[in-house]
């Protein structure tokens, strides 16, 4: 366990150093890193409900879009400053998660996954029908060209999400979530109020996700439903958390870094379908060979190239 803690501190340290970078970077890298901080935050947030609690949510992107639209609406229609909109986004998403989470989290496994998937798609469809939110044409936010500002905000959100995860992991709440993930019935008879714990986890997850969404909206100055409710965001969140090691504090950030790096190497600027083909292929390979992600290897387990462990894992999961 101490090895894992060290990993977390190293990452926090690196992020602190990253705060000093902007003056030395050109616009391209500021953009790339800001995006990385955002994706990592989404993965960290997802990890709370998906990794720790074991409830695989395909609906977290709904909170991202909700946060984005809450920010857009309060800034353009109600003329709030960004920080007001930021908080509004978090509150709206948290309420959304609490209210809808109460019935939806009663579902397990496949049903929960599908219910959250329909939540994501349904929220997008709903937003696409509402005139105050621009219907399908999107909304434009006030322009802010201080890209270093957004770099630091996203970095702060990422740092906060890691710290929040750290505190949860070591708390009573965190143990409740892990117990629920491992065996919900056993957790209940030991005195854990699973319903409350699950909703709590999803609410925190939603809040962080919405914060990133709000910042994204202000950053890009224009949002529309297909962009901020894009299911690929959700899949990426999951892959990043899985790759780095779900149910670990900083795993999602590591996974996010790896995926972002691969994306960069493949030439993220071109939008050719080949990019997606290769990414899809890589994910297939990762999912088969590294179901527990990289964390077991980083935290002092056998080396990644230990074929025996991989073979044993495969044998357990194939027929």
């Amino acid at each position: 366990m101490a090895a894992r803690r060290r990993v977390t501190y190293v990452i926090l340290g690196l992020l602190a150093l990253a705060a000093l970078l902007p003056p030395h970077l050109n616009g391209y890298w500021v953009h790339v890193l800001t995006l990385f901080f955002m994706m990592a935050s989404l993965a960290q947030a997802w990890n709370l409900i998906g990794g720790y609690t074991g409830y695989v949510s395909f609906g977290n992107v709904a909170f991202f879009g909700t946060g984005a639209y809450a920010c857009a609406y309060t800034m353009t229609e109600m003329h709030w400053p960004f920080w007001g909109a930021f908080i509004a986004a978090i509150v709206v998403a948290a309420l959304f998660a609490t209210i809808l989470g109460t019935p939806i989290l009663r579902l397990r496994g496949h049903y929960f996954a599908i219910a959250t998937l329909s939540l994501a798609i349904g929220t997008q469809a709903l937003v696409q029908q509402l005139p105050p939110l621009g219907k399908g044409s999107g909304m434009t936010l006030p322009l802010n060209s201080d890209f270093h500002f957004f770099y630091w905000v996203m970095l702060a959100i990422l740092g906060a999400s890691i710290v929040v995860t750290m505190f949860i992991a070591r708390s009573r709440f965190g143990y409740a979530l892990s117990a629920i993930r491992e065996n919900e019935e056993a957790a209940a008879v030991l005195g854990i109020n699973a319903a409350v714990a699950k909703v709590g986890a999803w609410t925190v997850s939603a809040g962080i996700t919405a914060a990133a969404g709000a910042t994204f909206a202000y950053w890009t100055s224009f949002i529309d439903p297909p962009t901020v409710f894009d299911l690929n965001f959700n899949v990426l969140m999951i892959i990043m958390a899985m790759l780095g090691g779900a149910a670990s504090v900083a795993g999602p950030t590591i996974g996010s870094f790896i995926i972002s790096a691969i994306g960069e190497a493949l030439g993220a600027q071109s939008v050719s379908p080949w990019h997606a083909v290769v990414l899809g292929g890589i994910i297939v390979v990762i999912v088969i060979l590294l179901p527990r992600g990289i964390m077991p290897y980083l935290a002092g387990g056998p080396p990644v190239w230990n074929l025996q462990m991989v073979r044993r894992q495969l044998r357990a999961s194939r027929v």
Binding site: R172, Y175, A176, S178, A179, E182, N183, E185, A186, A187, A188, V189, L190, G191, I192, N193, A194, A247
Partner: protein, 257 residues
């Protein structure tokens, strides 16, 4: 069968419990009482409804009629986690360890959320967990992953988790199944020591040696009905009980092996 009454105020009282699964009646008006600090054995052929009764008591299963009273309070409609916090713990026949947590963490979950859990500090909870592991003979495995344990150790862990909640009443569902005779002796000693510490036990078992050696009273279920109760030796010689287990042919003769 009228309620199995005890002299003083019972620790737990089940009254006319009825459980139906569609057309099947699993429990047909079962009533029993357990005295404080008593060890009550609950036996019966497979499918008699023993686990169903335990599930009703622990709140995991909702009964269709009747009531379960603990400390005078009706547990109907109370969710399992609240029942656990009131001081009633249970083990599961098919053990449910927290596989990816360590043995110590498994016990700690019980200590963090059980009867006094929410009032305990982390340090106190882990200390209590360690104490429970010591009593259950798992101290040596404290840092191992629960999934790495042998069956006997996993059964011990199942008991340890429940014990860590510091219960007043403990329901045990076939904790001896699959154990060697030596392990059964160890388990029996553990149950006796737990009981000596003031915990009321209801023990569901098929291993007769354990039931005879540990119970003060025994209650017998067959096809959802209570058919006999009394001292272990009396119950075992009861012709109705013999018939339930072995069929009419053995009713008049001596108990089987």
């Amino acid at each position: 069968m009228s309620a199995v009454a005890v002299a003083s105020r019972p620790a737990l009282s089940a009254r006319d419990i009825v459980v139906r699964f569609g057309g099947l009646v699993a429990l047909d008006g079962v009533s029993l009482e357990v005295a404080p600090r008593e060890i009550l054995g609950l036996i019966g052929p497979n499918g008699a409804g023993k686990t169903t009764l335990l599930s009703v008591m622990s709140g995991t299963l909702r009964h269709n009629a009747g009531a379960v009273l603990v400390g005078g309070r009706d547990l109907t409609h109370i969710p399992p986690y609240e029942i656990a916090r009131l001081g009633l713990a249970r083990t599961f026949q098919v053990v449910k360890p927290f596989a990816n947590l360590t043995v110590r963490e498994n016990a700690a979950v019980g200590a963090l959320f059980g009867r006094h859990g929410l009032r305990r500090s982390f340090a106190a909870a882990f200390a209590a967990a360690d104490a429970v592991l010591e009593r259950s003979g798992l101290a040596a495995h404290a840092d191992r992953q629960a999934s790495d344990l042998t069956l006997a150790d996993r059964k011990r862990l199942e008991i340890a988790k429940a014990l860590a909640t510091d219960p007043e009443i403990l329901l045990l569902d076939e904790v001896m199944a699959g154990l060697t005779p030596a392990e059964i002796d160890q388990a029996m000693n553990l149950l006796r020591s737990v009981n000596a510490g003031g915990v009321t036990l209801i023990v569901v078992e098929h291993v007769m040696k354990a039931i005879m050696g540990v119970s003060q009273r025994v209650v017998v279920l067959d096809r959802g009905k209570l058919i006999a109760h009394g001292k272990p030796a009396d119950v075992v010689a009861n012709p109705l009980v013999i018939e339930a287990y072995l069929g009419k042919r053995y009713r008049g003769g001596s108990p089987g092996a």
